[in-house]
Amino acid sequence: MQEPKQLLVSAIKNGTVIDHIQAGMATKLLQVLNLGMHKKIVTLGLNLPSKDMGSKDLIKIEDKELTEQEANKIAIFSPLASINIINNYEVIKKFNVTLLETVQSLIVCPNPKCITNNENMDSDFKVHHQNNQIKLQCKYCEKIFLQSDINDYRA
């Protein structure tokens, strides 16, 4: 049996590891995935050393298997994130997040005069990915925002 590696964030038995999160984004993902309400262990690694990325964040969620739909919500914050589904300490499934063309019901439009902030309705954003920069355009008020302009989410 292989010697267990020294882990900076302790291993989980069953659940999901979200790896290669862009450094600084993990706390946003907690909000987006509503992990504050998760009753089991959630461990968080911030600014961990990474060969590919320099530094990265990481989230381990005990007893929750992230669906692809949930995982894709992550893509606008961290398009390089990878998802590892863990069963009995082994990775049984691994996939990358996919940047979708539109994102519904996730982002709160930062424009206070947008109709979406004034009626009980879903938000809807078009995702533009150009030159390694993600821009989000509200379908309603048509304003274009950087990911860093977005402060609030509908988990």
């Binding site: 424009n111 005069k113 947008c114 109709i115 979406t116 004034n118 009626e119 009980n120 309705m121 509200c138 379908k139 309603y140 008020c141 048509e142 304003k143 274009i144």
Partner: protein, 308 residues
């Protein structure tokens, strides 16, 4: 190529193709020359103005009536269920059951798009907050074409509050179809937003930034003036200094191109002095009149009574 706008919502200028824009202008031209007082008989327009408007509302309403259609509606939301807390979605869904087409203005951005989700009847956006005002842009293009006898390759200056002015944003976007050379004249703090400039660059449109009308006035075919609103300035002393720089007087028009036309979406406050009205360059009152024909064309096209 046939353009068919039957049942279409007219919400945002970037959604209209060059061919669609040209078809609207051609139909407007034809309606200006040959009125069609029975074209929209037996049709009803809902005129839903959730915030004040003079030109847009009255020209939509007269456009419908001059085509033989009828108008119902309101000019003040205080007399509607909005005051009781009804959502725009519910109001529009119900109004859509009574009328054939809805012209609307609303203070919130994206309201016209939201309304279009509540009804199958076409929505004509008469302004949604600071976002879009597509019928203004179409009447601007119609007017430019009318006074210059062409739309292509013109030198056009946009002057005033270019940061918050929805009119100048939509006009700049629409002019990308016609290879305009654009001059943006505004105080630094009110210059054209980056996202519009990026769109222009992507479409190879040439543009430049200026701080004085005098720097460009002899280089352009169209001088499109807009109002600088005092409330945009945190520092009122700064506003007092700036506001006089962006005033056009008849004297400034002495050495301009003979074909130069001055446009303004109106209302003007002090940015075009009244002595300009008597010059051959003033074209803003004709521009306001043209709103009638462009809105007639749009009503007839979305109701399937005119195609090109």
């Amino acid at each position: 190529m046939t353009v068919n706008l039957i049942g279409r919502d007219i919400i945002s200028i970037p959604e209209l193709s060059r061919e669609e824009i040209l078809a609207v202008l051609e139909n407007a031209r034809s309606l200006k020359q040959t009125p069609q007082p029975k074209l929209l008989e037996n049709h009803v327009m809902g005129s839903c103005f959730y915030e004040p408007s003079t030109r847009t509302r009255l020209s939509f309403e007269t456009a419908m009536q001059r085509l033989g259609g009828k108008v119902v509606g309101f000019a003040d939301p205080a007399v509607t269920s909005t005051k009781k807390g009804e959502t725009l979605y519910d109001s529009t869904r119900i109004i859509g059951q009574y009328v054939d087409v809805i012209a609307m203005r609303h203070p919130l951005e994206g309201s016209a798009r939201r309304a279009s989700e509540a009804t199958d009847k076409p929505i004509l956006n008469g302004g949604d907050g600071a976002n879009q005002h597509p019928t203004q842009t179409l009447l601007d293009l119609f007017t430019i074409d009318e006074c210059q006898k062409k739309l292509e390759n013109l030198d056009i200056a946009l002057v005033g509050d270019l940061k918050y002015g929805r009119t100048t944003h939509s006009l700049a976007q629409a002019l990308t179809h016609f290879n305009a050379h654009l001059y943006f004249v505004a105080p630094n703090s009110l210059q054209m937003p980056n996202y519009i400039c990026e769109e222009l660059k992507a479409k190879n449109i040439i543009f430049s930034f200026h701080e004085k009308i005098e720097d460009i006035i002899d280089k352009v075919d169209i001088l499109y003036m807009t109002r600088i609103q005092g409330e945009r300035f945190a520092d009122q002393i700064e506003y007092q200094k700036i506001k006089n720089i962006f005033v056009l007087t008849a004297k400034m028009l002495e050495n301009v191109r003979p074909n130069l036309s001055v446009l303004h979406p109106l209302p003007r406050v002090g940015e075009i002095t009244t002595d300009v009205d008597a010059t051959k360059h003033a074209y803003y009152f004709e521009q306001a009149e043209n709103g009638l024909y462009v809105r007639q064309a749009l009503l007839a096209m979305v109701l399937g009574k005119l195609n090109k």
